[in-house]
């Protein structure tokens, strides 16, 4: 496993090295998710082996995900390849202080899917630097990773119907109107169920902090 110095500000010109023996040096670094470690190895060292491992983990999930978004399997595979290539090319833009690896990849997957299917360029917000006086540091990354873990646990604890609504809102290429048509539920119910689900999520997250 690579040992990465995450205290350094992200800089594509900075090459971070593994320790000579390739041993993990600082134990807290092991709490970074595997996805984050792969992505940083790709970002900092253009590490093909790490990218290959990331492909094995990510590509089937992305394919399942894109199919759930309504793509036929052949198109889904094309989109996955495009997403993986985008991850390779845009890795320099990944900043673990700002976004969890899975969140960053989720947005790339949605954007590429939409760009390919609708043949348009999604408008993407400008990057905002840190607020004046805030220094990025590794504890921020850890806090974000912790939050992700809590979020996953909170999602697991949702009632099946709430979870289904959340999945439809974030995975399906569906507006509320379309969800309502599909499930036969009146619009008010759909919205209140999404709200209930998100409210519960927030509460769970608060309780875990």
């Amino acid at each position: 496993m690579l040992t990465l110095n995450l205290d350094r500000p992200p800089d594509k010109n900075t090459v971070l090295r593994a320790s000579p023996e390739g041993k993990a040096v600082v134990s807290r670094e092991q709490t970074y998710s595997q996805l984050t470690v792969w992505l940083l190895a790709v970002r900092n060292q253009r590490d093909r082996a790490a990218f290959g491992e990331m492909f094995d983990y990510l590509a089937p999930r992305l394919k399942g995900f894109v199919i759930r978004c309504g793509a036929r399997p052949a198109l889904a595979e094309e989109i996955v390849q495009d997403v993986m290539l985008t991850i390779w090319r845009k890795a320099a833009m990944f900043d673990p202080h700002k976004a969890q690896a899975s969140a960053w990849i989720y947005q790339i997957a949605r954007n590429r899917h939409i760009d390919i299917v609708r043949k348009e360029n999604r408008p993407v917000p400008d990057e905002l630097g840190e607020a004046p006086g805030t220094e990025p540091d590794a504890s921020q990354i850890l806090a974000l990773e912790q939050e992700t873990l809590h979020l996953k646990q909170a999602i697991e604890q949702l009632q099946p119907d709430q979870k289904e609504m959340i999945e439809k809102a974030y995975i399906g290429d569906l507006t509320h109107q379309e969800i309502s048509t599909q499930t036969g539920l009146p619009l008010g119910t759909v919205k209140s169920r999404i709200r209930l689900g998100l409210g519960r999520l927030r509460k769970e997250l608060k309780g875990l902090r």
Partner: protein, 211 residues
């Protein structure tokens, strides 16, 4: 960074993350997010939910040669993609829509000007230029309208909107926005239906001006 008081509602940020907003609304949301750290943080939270759901999605096997095909492409140079940075008052998403050029204003009368940026079956987005003290004609809405202030400010029955603020109008909002004193007010406005003007321009002329 201006003090923004009127933000994008959270569910709309979630819909933006998921890509389920019409393109015209995505332009306004992305432009507001370009000016607002709070809403960018909210977007991050929704992306995290999406990421968590992505990671727990059951995998579907890729075809056997997919990985080797992909690895072979890594060294291929990417086709150059134009990148549009913010310029002056216009955030990146607006500059992208303008293809890096300054707006080409078309006069609507009374000093009010517009530049239509985008139009499809699901909505339209335009830049509006309103001289200080000038009212945007009293209008009501067929559908949803998002108005983001990029320069100056306007006020209406519901409050004052400065740079970065977004006003959200729907069927229930009948208002008369007036540009405040000072710089001309420039807004990015998106709607999912044609605006109905009650005064200022006969309805029959609306298709002509595409308002």
């Amino acid at each position: 960074m201006p003090a923004i008081t009127h933000h994008i509602p959270d569910p709309m940020i979630a819909a933006y993350a998921a890509g389920s907003l019409p393109h015209a609304f995505s332009m306004v949301v992305a432009s507001h997010l370009s000016l607002c750290r709070d809403c960018q943080a909210a977007l991050g939270a929704h992306q995290a939910v999406g990421g968590a759901l992505l990671e727990e999605t059951a995998g579907v096997a890729m075809s056997l040669d997919a990985k080797s095909n992909l690895m072979a492409q890594l060294d291929r140079p990417a086709a150059p993609e134009p990148v549009y940075d913010s310029k002056g008052i216009y955030p990146g998403p607006v500059m992208q829509s303008l293809k890096g050029q300054p707006p080409r204003w078309k006069t609507l009368g009374m000093g009010v000007k517009q530049n239509i940026l985008f139009e499809d079956d699901f909505g339209s987005a335009r830049l509006l230029y309103i001289p200080a003290g000038q009212a945007v004609p009293d209008h009501s809405h067929n559908g949803l309208e998002l108005t983001l202030v990029l320069q100056g400010s306007f006020s209406d029955e519901t409050g004052r909107f400065g740079v970065g603020d977004v006003e959200i109008g729907d069927e229930t909002l009948e208002h008369t926005p007036v540009a405040d004193a000072g710089d001309p007010c420039i807004c990015l406005a998106a709607t999912d239906a044609p605006l109905r003007f009650k005064a200022f321009m006969p309805r029959l002329l609306q298709p002509l001006f595409r308002i």
